[in-house]
């Protein structure tokens, strides 16, 4: 079973320690131990939601706010640029979700 790490008791996301495919079970370790099902394919180093997170609610990792949910996020869902936004950095909203590549610079 793939593993994910919950760093702080207050966290509502955990970090994947290996790639996981959609529908696969994930063993969460760290600040609490439990199993849940990944709803999406999620790559090593990326985050999955440990609880449902409503649009506008704070996403917490390391016990600190790392941004706000831009739409409702279900338990087990991949949490990244498509559903999480920084409170500071607005350019990152324009980046490609999969690769992080810039889409706002013109090459012409």
């Amino acid at each position: 079973m793939s593993r994910a790490f919950k760093i702080h008791a207050a966290d509502n996301v955990a970090t994947l320690l290996a790639d996981v495919s959609a529908g696969a079970a994930v063993h969460v370790l760290g600040e609490s131990t439990r199993n849940l099902v990944a709803r999406d394919q999620i790559m090593l180093g990326h985050k999955l939601a440990l609880t449902p997170i409503g649009a506008g609610e704070t996403v917490i990792k390391f016990g600190v706010a790392i941004g706000c949910a831009t739409r409702d996020i279900a338990e087990g869902e991949w949490v990244h640029l498509h559903n999480l936004a920084s409170a500071f950095d607005h350019r990152s909203k324009t980046l490609d979700v999969e690769t992080g590549a810039a889409t706002d610079t013109k090459y012409e």
């Binding site: 090593l44 990326h46 600190v64 500071f88 607005h90 810039a102």
Partner: protein, 404 residues
Amino acid sequence: MSNALIPSWTGFLRGDGRKGVRNLVLIIYTVECAKFVAHSIAAGEDDVHVIGFPGCYDNQYAVRMMLSLGRHPNVGAVLAVGLGCEYTRPDRIAETIASSDRPAEWFRIQDAGGTRSSIEQGKRIVLRMRDHIREATPRVPMRLADLTIGAECGGSDGTSGLAGNPVVGRVFDRVVDAGGTAIFEETVEMIGLKSIILARAAHDTARSQLEAAYEKAVRYCEDVRQFSVAPGNFAGGLSTIEEKSMGAFAKGGSQPLQGVIRVSQRPPSPGLWILDSVPDSHFMQFGYTNPNDTEGIMDLIAAGAQVVLFVTGRGSVIGSPIAPLVKVTGNSRTFERMSDDMDYDAGKVLSGDQTLDEAGDALLALITRVAAGQMSKPEALGHREYFVMYKHQDTPPLEVGCRA
């Protein structure tokens, strides 16, 4: 640690009393036009390194940085090479460095007669200086208390904040405990953590320095509409600057923050310090902050770090002149894929094979071997990347109006 376990090794004593872990000749070129000659002089010589500044118009920040690097404890002698037209003065660079009691010479390519004769002249000078410092530099015992260590991260991914940076944090704690100095920078990667950083201040002065540096970093990133996150960070699972910040800050360990130094300043006392490399406000908005990893590594070396740690989750193939770079990754996949370039796999913490403390001890042991002379991976590969740029920081206000 008991006394018997405190690492010690042999270093090089400089005339100014500082101790180095390498005994190098540094060539400093003062304009892009002199770069080819400078590198040709150094070619084929492991212990002759090169840095330089590309601009023809000089810049106080860049001059301060070249002087700090020339007086670095790992540097035994300096040759400054100019073309002859530029503002930056190789003669003044050599004289200033010579006043720190190490040999320093200079020449201009236009006086020496062109490419071939300049390279020949340069090689003669450099080889003579190298023979001299090999012979004349006193060898002295060194301990962690004599060490200034820097840490930078780049190519971060979701493992960096979980393993790579926390392991470096353990090393920082041990170096500071032993009476040494530890420096990390990237105030633009502290964004979102204001209260956490201020709570680490050793005293009120440090607290106000940290607050000012934090506010400047936020303002700067907003103004240039660029936060310190790159496509590879996002691809590696980091979604926001706040998330990346918390991972990056972990490399600072747990000791109190003594304050904030600026680029090319040395920490005034041992302990844990933050380096502010963000440009100050200026009518030309000189300089981008942290435009690449090499810039940050140069800042740490200019602050006197004799060894620099570089934490990279996704992998990187840079090195540095002057101070050896030790590469740490929290991603075991990256370690295996880039094993020629990576010095230390902190990913064993994530697989459960090692605790953070065990990994910290093992990394510290590697650092002391490198300090004792073992080449780090990038050093052995010949990586000597450097970056000295135009920037405006901490210079007096410009005079306006006509001079009498």
